[in-house]
């Protein structure tokens, strides 16, 4: 992890090294999630996997299939860790066949941000943010019609957002229980839910209500929101800290709300982020050292430090209590929103989050697919059909390449 996040990781490692006898943790930065996954898989190929690797949420299936990692629940001694203390949505995400495969590290949710000053200027209630996509559209229309902002809303074109709308609607993105039981073979891009989501998204752009920040361009979306080009923004809860600071700098009052849903159903959101994977076949000594480190990292104090400095969730109930007693959530209502949303999430296959070996390929298909909906004459339905067939091909060819 880079920037402020990377510094926080290094600070944690340094703290650990200071308090431990004989065990030293070294960190190494490998770039973005994709680049890290790539660095790890190539290191595995060369037989030089790191002892502990941070792997992106959707890289889990690939990590399991690589055969290079030992399930965390088997690696860590059961008498030293209480898995029930962890947040359910977080631990569920990293569980396969009821076994925890990796140690959740940085976990976040998508969250809705809005400019309260603009809402007030437009005659909208600054205390009740839109809850559904239809309401986001209404608010956008009001704001744009009155010339208060150029567009109503902005967010990066990342597959993570439509995936969340699927989860809220309680519809899995892929078959085979959202890819949780075995390798999925089909993407549910031909469903009514998909149609509703993408029609809304494409229409928002066509009607000048949505600012398309570009594929994967989180930074540009944040900038457009903070400098007042739009009144609303969707991003990760990991951005709460920097958004709060940005709003102060630009002198407006920031509001946060639950992730808007595609329809009436609000099942919940899927966590995103990354987790830590332990390599197989380590010496007892190394394993012992890693165990110490991971258990230390999961302690309430470290979790609270991590959360306060980044906005990623504290992963255990005890860490939440620790923060609560400290008055943290009272002082930081925006973190409270993110947190309530996570705790109210119902546990279903859809909110557990999808998994597939070629996940990054499927995500690319979804993101690029949206772009062609808004820059060509193709209809949403036609495009969804071709996206589905491309995604299905990718899923199929992964199963084939894996062999046996």
């Amino acid at each position: 992890m880079g920037g402020n996040l990377g510094e926080t990781v290094d600070a944690l490692a340094a703290d650990f090294n200071e308090q431990s006898d004989g065990v030293t943790v070294e960190t190494s930065y490998k770039g973005s999630y994709d680049e890290t996954l790539n660095a790890v898989t190539s290191a595995i190929g060369a037989g030089e996997a790191p002892e502990l690797a941070q792997i992106v949420d959707l890289g889990s299936r690939l990590a399991i299939d690589s055969g290079a990692f030992e399930p965390m629940e088997e690696a860590l001694p059961s008498d030293r860790i209480d898995w029930s203390d962890f947040q359910d949505p977080v631990i569920d995400y990293y569980s396969f066949d009821d076994t925890v495969y990796s140690m959740p590290f940085n976990s976040s949710n998508p969250i809705f941000y809005y400019n309260k000053d603009m809402f007030e200027a437009a005659g909208l209630d600054p205390e009740s943010p839109p809850e559904t996509l239809a309401e986001v559209r209404e608010a956008s229309e009001t704001i744009v019609d009155q010339g208060i902002a150029e567009q109503g809303i902005t967010f990066a074109n990342v597959s993570w957002f439509p995936e969340q709308w699927f989860a809220e609607a309680n519809v899995p993105l892929v078959n085979k229980d959202n890819g949780r039981t075995t390798d999925p073979t089909e993407a549910n891009l031909d469903t009514d839910t998909a149609d509703r989501i993408f029609t809304w998204w494409a229409d928002m752009h066509a009607d000048g209500l949505y600012n398309h920040a570009g594929v994967g361009n989180w930074g540009a979306a944040q900038q457009a929101f903070l400098n007042g080009q739009t009144a609303m923004w969707i991003s990760s809860t990991a951005g709460v800290a920097s958004a709060t600071a940005g709003a102060e700098e630009n002198d407006f009052e920031l509001g946060t709300g639950y992730y808007p849903t595609a329809g009436e159903t609000r099942t919940g959101v899927v966590i995103g982020g990354a987790s830590l994977w332990m390599t197989r076949g380590l010496s007892d000594e190394k394993k012992q050292g890693l165990t110490d480190f991971l258990l230390w990292l999961a302690e309430a104090e470290q979790q609270a430090f991590w959360h306060q400095n980044t906005g990623y969730f504290p992963i255990s109930d005890s860490a939440v209590e620790y923060l609560d007693e400290d008055g943290w959530f009272d002082e930081n209502p925006n973190f409270q929103t993110a947190f309530d949303q996570l705790q109210e999430t119902e546990q279903t296959v859809a909110t557990q989050g999808w998994q597939a070996g070629p996940a990054s390929e499927v995500r690319t298909i979804i993101q690029d697919g949206y772009v062609s909906m808004i820059n060509s004459d193709v209809t949403v339905d036609e495009k969804l059909a071709s996206m589905k067939s491309e995604a299905d091909d990718a899923l199929e060819s992964y199963i084939q390449s894996k062999g046996n």
Binding site: D34, E35, N38, T41, S42, I44, G45, A46, L62, D65, S66, E150, T154, N157, H205, N211, H212, A213, G214, V215, G216, N217, A220, Q223, A224, N227, Q229, P358, S360, E361, T364, D368, V371, S372, I374, N375, S376, A394, Q400, S401, K402, G403
Partner: protein, 295 residues
């Protein structure tokens, strides 16, 4: 007879002196090339786990894929635009620099500066300067040309932005070589031109360009290679192959398949195709230019 005039005739010594270079070339060039060729006949999982021989299947898959064929066409168009663009602009700038008498050094620095900038830095800076919604240039372009700038969404705009960036980045390099070639033009020719009263641009086209032809041939080849391979960083930082594959050049598609989608076999096949294409083009360029270049 001084010691200096002894001929070096030790074969062993010669090999020893060549050894470091040979080792480096074999380890970092030939070996990976052979591995790439080998992998192009395999289906792979992750980074070379579970390889399975599939013969020419990777190649047939590529050559029957609409996405890939579009990418090939796009790459050739991109290369043509970048080569012609950067040579034409480079030549104009170099000629003006050659002719100018005041402030030559300042102009020269200004012209070469973009080349001194690492591509990654240039890409990041341009991304924000020309960003559709928060870019500094965007407002002026919209006001002057009456187009709505949205190169994150509109295909041809994405292509244009990357092509312009690639040309801009390469001008400095071309100017250096062209200026060196111009400075080699014998002063007597300049005087002859002056006596005959030949106008400036005619002098460039009729006198200088033929004299510069060996340099120009060299630059055509280098710029072609640059257009095929060197634009990667700009694309990765600015458009990621988008919008909807409008900037998905062969080198980027290759990177995607190898490093994002973990399909090493397919990517190796693309690497082989790309190599053959560029090697073929270079060969043709050298052959054709033999007829026109005066050495």
């Amino acid at each position: 007879m001084g010691v200096h005039e002894n001929t070096f005739d030790s074969t062993l010594g010669a090999y020893l002196l060549l050894l470091p270079t040979l080792v480096a070339i074999v380890a970092f060039l030939y070996y990976p090339s052979l591995q790439t060729l080998r992998f192009s006949f395999f289906q792979t999982f992750l980074f070379g786990q579970n390889t399975r021989f599939v013969g020419l299947a990777n190649f047939t898959e590529l050559l029957s894929s609409q996405v890939y064929l579009t990418s090939v066409g796009l790459t050739i168009a991109f290369a043509a635009i970048v080569v012609v663009g950067s040579l034409a602009v480079g030549l104009a700038v170099a000629f003006l620099l050659y002719e100018v008498s005041d402030g030559k050094a300042a102009y020269l620095i200004a012209a070469i500066w973009p080349y001194a900038l690492p591509t990654a830095v240039a890409g990041t800076v341009l991304l924000f300067l020309a960003h559709p919604s928060v870019g500094i240039y965007t407002h002026y372009i919209e006001a002057w040309f009456g187009v709505e700038v949205d190169w994150f969404t509109v295909g041809w705009q994405g292509f244009a932005v990357v092509a312009i960036a690639a040309i801009w980045k390469q001008i400095g390099y071309n100017v250096i070589f062209m200026l060196a070639a111009l400075n080699n033009v014998p002063e007597s020719l300049n005087e002859a031109c002056e006596l005959d009263g030949i106008e400036t641009w005619r002098r460039l086209v009729r006198v200088y360009i033929p004299l510069m032809s060996p340099t120009l041939v060299f630059l055509v080849v280098i710029n072609t290679i640059y257009a095929f391979f060197g634009s990667f960083a700009l694309i990765d930082l600015m458009t990621q192959g988008g919008p909807t594959n409008a900037t998905n050049l062969m080198i980027y598609q290759l990177y995607r398949d190898a490093f994002q989608f973990n399909n090493l076999g397919l990517a190796s096949a693309q690497s082989v195709i790309l190599f053959v294409l560029v090697a073929g083009l270079t060969f043709v360029q050298l052959r054709v230019s033999d007829r026109y270049a005066h050495y």
